[in-house]
Homo-oligomer: 415 residues x 2
């Protein structure tokens, strides 16, 4: 967790870390600045010292909310360095960093670089650092990064935040269910009070409004019906009318407004009734879900959960990415992932990743699914879990796992 950053630097032989980037949402910067809403700024943390946030003068007030030490680029002489670099902002930044590091008392050493930025600017800065700051060794971790490892376990404050996001997301899921259950059936369509066929876009708009009313924002939810549900990441077509008896994969993963912690949950619904093959597939996926939860063990490798599910699906005659690595149907993704400021964090729950273990403070999804686009359906069931302080896997997604949304008024079926 966040309080481990200093220890993680020592473990990795790093004398400092620098988190940088541009205006893009920057997970590492958000995390280490405690959610300060800055669009320019870098964080410098030297082992054993408090972190320093260096910001643009225009963002001083927002930067102060981080609780970190804050200095502006003006105070640190950035513009003199920019002039010295003859207006080359990348070189100016490199020289400015040497000033900041000197001020923090680090004259040489190994520095880990993190953050989110443009690919081209990152490489340019990296090359400038190698040239102009040769007294330092700049370290880039491609996997199992220090930031990922810190974020792998959440502290009590983070878990409390995620729990409230979870409660609000479950409430919105209930509103979507109730809305659909209250529609009237006309043939295969579902119509509102005015007799107008209700579309996927209508449901998404309702969900977005209800999320916002609760201080959450949609981050491109999936509400995919029929064949679209057969592609795990198809978002669904806004103008497609809701249809009776089609599988709908509804994957909702909002976050706190303006960027922050997520919840992540998926339900598969059929409105009014479900075809036999969807019912059977749903049962198989629900069994996989239960098998995953049973396969959980504190301090056990996460991939054992995935392998239990792969065994189950393969026994039931479905292709998987283990049995058929290039398959486009059957079970085509991993079982789950950590969730936090990013929607996909560690731990991974995949047979391709053997080194993650289940730890206290993990927040992770379990989301088995089966996909048959050519047969016009897909099924996924997903809850978010916390590994609590007792080491138990506790769901944050109490919402019911029913396949069929019964219609309050199903009289239109005969029309």
């Amino acid at each position: 967790m966040k309080s481990d950053v200093d220890r993680l630097m020592r473990d990795r032989g790093l004398d400092a870390i620098i988190v940088t980037g541009g205006e893009e949402f920057n997970t590492a910067r958000y995390y280490l600045s405690n959610g300060a809403r800055i669009t320019h700024g870098s964080i410098f943390q030297v082992v054993g010292k408090p972190a320093l946030l260096v910001c643009n003068r225009m963002e001083l007030e927002e930067a102060a909310k981080s609780g970190l030490d804050v200095l502006t680029d003006v105070e640190l002489g950035f513009y003199d360095r920019y002039k010295e670099a003859e207006g080359n902002s990348i070189r100016g930044t490199a020289l400015h960093w040497s000033d900041v590091l000197a001020r923090l008392g680090l004259k040489a050493g190994r520095i880990g670089l993190y953050g989110t930025w443009q690919v081209n600017q990152t490489i340019a800065l990296y090359e400038a650092l190698k040239t102009d700051l040769a007294q330092y060794e700049f370290v880039y971790e491609a996997e199992n990064t220090l930031i990922e490892e810190a974020m792998l376990t959440k502290d009590a404050a983070e878990i409390a935040r995620i729990k409230t996001v979870a409660e609000r997301t479950n409430a919105v899921m209930e509103i979507a269910w109730d809305f659909i259950a209250g529609l009237r059936r006309v043939g295969e369509n579902l119509v509102d009070e005015d007799g107008r066929p209700v579309t996927i876009g209508d449901v998404k708009n309702l969900v977005r409004r209800e999320l916002m009313a609760r201080g959450l924002e949609d981050t491109n939810m999936i509400f995919a019906q029929g064949r679209d549900a057969g592609f795990p990441h198809s978002r669904g077509e806004a103008d497609m009318p809701l249809q009776v008896g089609q599988a709908i994969v509804f994957d909702l993963f909002p976050r706190e407004l303006g960027g922050g912690y997520h919840h992540d949950m998926t339900r598969t619904w059929c409105i009014g009734c479900a075809p036999q093959e969807v019912r059977e597939t749903y049962e198989t996926v629900l069994e996989a879900f239960d098998i995953s939860v049973e396969a959980f063990g504190l301090n056990k490798p996460t991939h054992l959960m995935q392998e239990a599910v792969l065994d189950h699906f393969e026994r039931a005659g479905h292709q998987t990415t283990r049995s058929h690595p290039s398959t486009m149907e059957g079970y085509v993704h991993s079982l789950g992932h950590g969730v936090g400021i990013d929607i996909h964090e560690r731990p991974s729950i995949s047979h391709l990743r053997q080194d993650d273990i289940c730890q206290i403070g993990n927040i992770l999804t379990i989301e088995p699914g089966l996909y048959y686009p050519e047969r016009g359906f897909g099924v996924r069931i997903e809850d978010l879990f916390v590994v609590d302080e007792k080491g138990e896997l506790v769901s944050l997604t109490p919402f019911r796992k029913d396949l069929v949304i019964p219609l309050a008024d199903d009289s239109g079926a005969a029309q």
Copy 2:
């Protein structure tokens, strides 16, 4: 504009470009994939050939909406390369890229790298490419990038989209004005029908709801009152009650829902009445705004507009970043910037940037401001403009530029 990409590659001596990244919103990928909502995938474009979008198999349906050629990583043998790289995904990606480039017929040459990604992963991939794909030269442009230059001028379809975003944003600004004008004054506070003091958070929530109802999303608007208004990028405190007679800087820059084109506008308001020094400062800023517009000339350098404003402010006795480079008050930012998929694009309108010129197809802001946090106020006025096909600067922000929002019921002033 986008149709210039091939020519820009030739101009810059590039044989190909690759746009890559992770799940972060990726401006270059969004732009070149025509807004496809993919979270994994890279675009490969070789000079003289159509662009190829390589995506994860789960995102095939969304990727197809790009209109580009699409292949999945599975089809291209990524997982074999991943195995060959012994599970090192960065090296696997580098080897996979060599397969893609060979398939596109590029055996050697100069390749520009673009996109948005984690800093650490970008550097790791760059190093792997230099090692494993030595037949190519990888080019990183830190400034004046090919992508920026393409985005510098918008095509007719982009301008049409931005115009509708502008209309919707102006409409929401009107709703916010009307909401405030309809509040009742009680002493220095403004109260709703129930007599409850209305806060900045209430206004922001209204604005977010009204944006969403129009298919737009807030990207962290500024609604900063009093001293906060004196810091250009202070967002404003949600729980601060609206106050009569305080300067409020309201900078609204929403984008199409889920990512897309922006509008950008700022108004400075005082509710009920305005203090004399705010009125005077407002007039000075409004003059600066008009001076900027007059200083515009097709094919003329943008910095001339900024210099006209610097001259004006300095004549009026205000510090600027030209006269006092480290000033924290007066005129502390540049005059404007391009707007598109990113909120800050080229052209820049700054005296520190001499190489941008005003061109047909530019979409840009003009936003002079003066800031006096220690005196408890700031003022900014901002419109968005298009340089139309006749070379004229046309505002997309017709919303009135009145400082004072008169209260319909100002009877509470006597209380």
